[in-house]
């Protein structure tokens, strides 16, 4: 029987939650890297025992950890993220030019085919790649230098490159998203990039339909349809059917279309999950009710999923990297909250239960389905 391993990054360490295919009883291991912020932990699809973790602290900066045994032991690897070429400037909050400064790694995306190749999305926004298991990092600088970089501005959480999506049908195609610059695509393995923000409409920027400047919170793809992407923007849930060439809104009947996470069912490419959050000034669920919304029609028609989730007095947030799905026959859905709960559903969202309740604030959740 398959097992499931949930990798949880929190404000004060990483936790690894494991269960069998029933997903009823869970073992909790951790905290790993106790006391450090763990923005993201992710396993290699090509070798599930190869994990990468982003470990950082306000005192001691960035560390990258690597495991070759599924998280039992870890070794620090290289943490030198040096921007390539002229550093350049982006816009600061007040509109003045501000030099690019490395702060942390938000997201680690292992290659779909090579355990030693991994991409890192960093703040200030840039993408790096390692081809030697994290022993060295090289910036794919065509992203920062493609032309619009000087116009990018940080979102409230910093100017972070937080989403990296690899196309399983085309190893040269990469999608990324930056708060608050927008979504970008490379069709040549990261050498050159183009903004893919046509159709986005953001009232919070001077030119609502500008080519860059949109606060994209998360992008999700179903591997069987890599040209279809779903996006949770600051406000608005969006969809593209042409790899980002144009987007259209699918917020439909959501009670609010602000939020951070979005994900796709492992076996149903038209089944999409979001967690609506009241607003950008109220980073908690509407009416104190924690509800996942599911669309089985690729958007627009959404149903609330509430069984097992708190339906009163709940004021947590669910951050952008904190939802994932497993690939068991009955698709499991998982998300973590800033209140330290990790909720799991073993039946595609119909019923939920907490795996753990009292972790530090959850920053990220990833799932590995192990045979």
């Amino acid at each position: 029987m398959a097992n499931v391993r949930v990798l949880v990054g929190t404000r004060k360490g990483a936790f690894i939650l494991t269960s069998d295919g029933k997903r009823e009883k869970w073992d909790v291991s951790g905290p790993h890297f106790a006391g450090w912020e763990i923005y993201h932990v992710k396993g290699s699809p090509a070798d599930p025992n190869r994990l990468y973790a982003s470990q950082s602290s306000g005192w001691f900066g960035q560390v990258i950890q690597r495991s070759s045994d599924g998280g039992k032991t870890w070794e620090p690897v290289d943490n030198k993220f040096a921007y390539e070429g002229a550093t350049g400037t982006h816009q600061w909050y007040d509109g003045t030019p501000h030099p690019w400064e490395f702060k942390r790694v938000w997201h680690l995306e292992p290659s779909l085919t090579d355990p030693d190749t991994v991409y890192a999305g960093v703040e200030d926004a840039a993408i790096f790649r390692s081809s030697d298991g994290g022993k060295s990092w090289q910036e794919l600088s065509g992203l920062r230098h493609h032309g619009s970089g000087p116009r990018w501005q940080p979102g409230a959480g910093g100017m972070c490159l937080h989403t990296i999506v690899l196309d399983p049908s085309d190893p040269r195609r990469i999608f990324i998203a930056i708060s608050a610059a927008g979504a970008f695509r490379s069709d040549d393995a990261g050498e050159t990039w183009q903004p893919i923000n046509r159709g986005l409409h953001s009232q919070t920027i001077p030119e609502p339909t500008a080519d860059v400047g949109h606060c994209v919170h998360r992008i999700a793809m179903h591997p069987s349809r890599p040209n279809v992407l779903f996006m949770q923007k600051h406000w608005d849930v969006m969809r593209t059917d042409n790899a980002g060439d144009s987007w259209h809104e699918i917020s439909g009947n959501l009670p609010t279309d602000f939020g951070f996470v979005i994900d796709v069912h492992a076996h149903e490419p038209e089944t999409v999950y979001v967690v609506p959050i009241t607003s950008d000034s109220h980073h908690y669920p509407l009416d104190g009710k924690l509800r996942v919304y599911r669309s089985r029609t690729g958007g627009n028609e959404w149903e609330p999923l509430t069984k097992g989730l708190p339906q009163s007095d709940c004021y947590v947030n669910v951050l952008r990297d904190a939802m994932a799905v497993d690939s068991l026959d009955s698709c499991g859905v998982y998300f973590g909250t800033t209140g330290g709960q990790v909720y799991a559903s073993a039946d595609a969202g119909d019923n939920w239960a907490p795996i753990v309740r009292d972790l530090p604030a959850v920053l990220s959740v990833e799932v590995q389905t192990l045979s």
């Binding site: 306000g58 005192w59 001691f60 900066g61 560390v63 030198k80 040096a82």
Partner: protein, 101 residues
């Protein structure tokens, strides 16, 4: 000469060491040579005390010795004689202002 270095707990864990570190320093003992020797022996500490690109001390890292704050000294200023002689350790401290929660 042998310099005694005390690291903060998080970095002792990262480097998998306990207690003080003793470093053999060739040439003048100063912040730069101590940090160079420390990072050479424990490569996982690179970037945790000073920026790897510009070599600037991280803002919330402090260097103390002999009840003095040496953080704002030039990295090339000779360390106090008591540190050079091994009578006193070179203290690397996470500033009390560091971290956000």
């Amino acid at each position: 000469m042998v310099i005694r270095v005390v690291l903060p707990a998080h970095l002792r864990t990262l480097a998998r060491i306990s207690g003080e570190v003793t470093l053999d320093i060739e040439g003048p003992a100063m912040q730069r040579s101590v940090l160079d020797a420390l990072e050479a022996r424990y490569p996982m500490l690179r970037g945790t005390l000073r920026d790897q690109v510009n070599q600037q001390r991280r803002p919330f890292v402090r260097f103390f010795a002999c009840e003095e704050d040496l953080s704002h000294e030039s990295p090339d200023t000779p360390l106090p004689e008591a540190v050079v002689s091994g009578a006193e350790p070179f203290l690397i401290v996470g500033a009390i202002a560091g971290g956000c929660d």
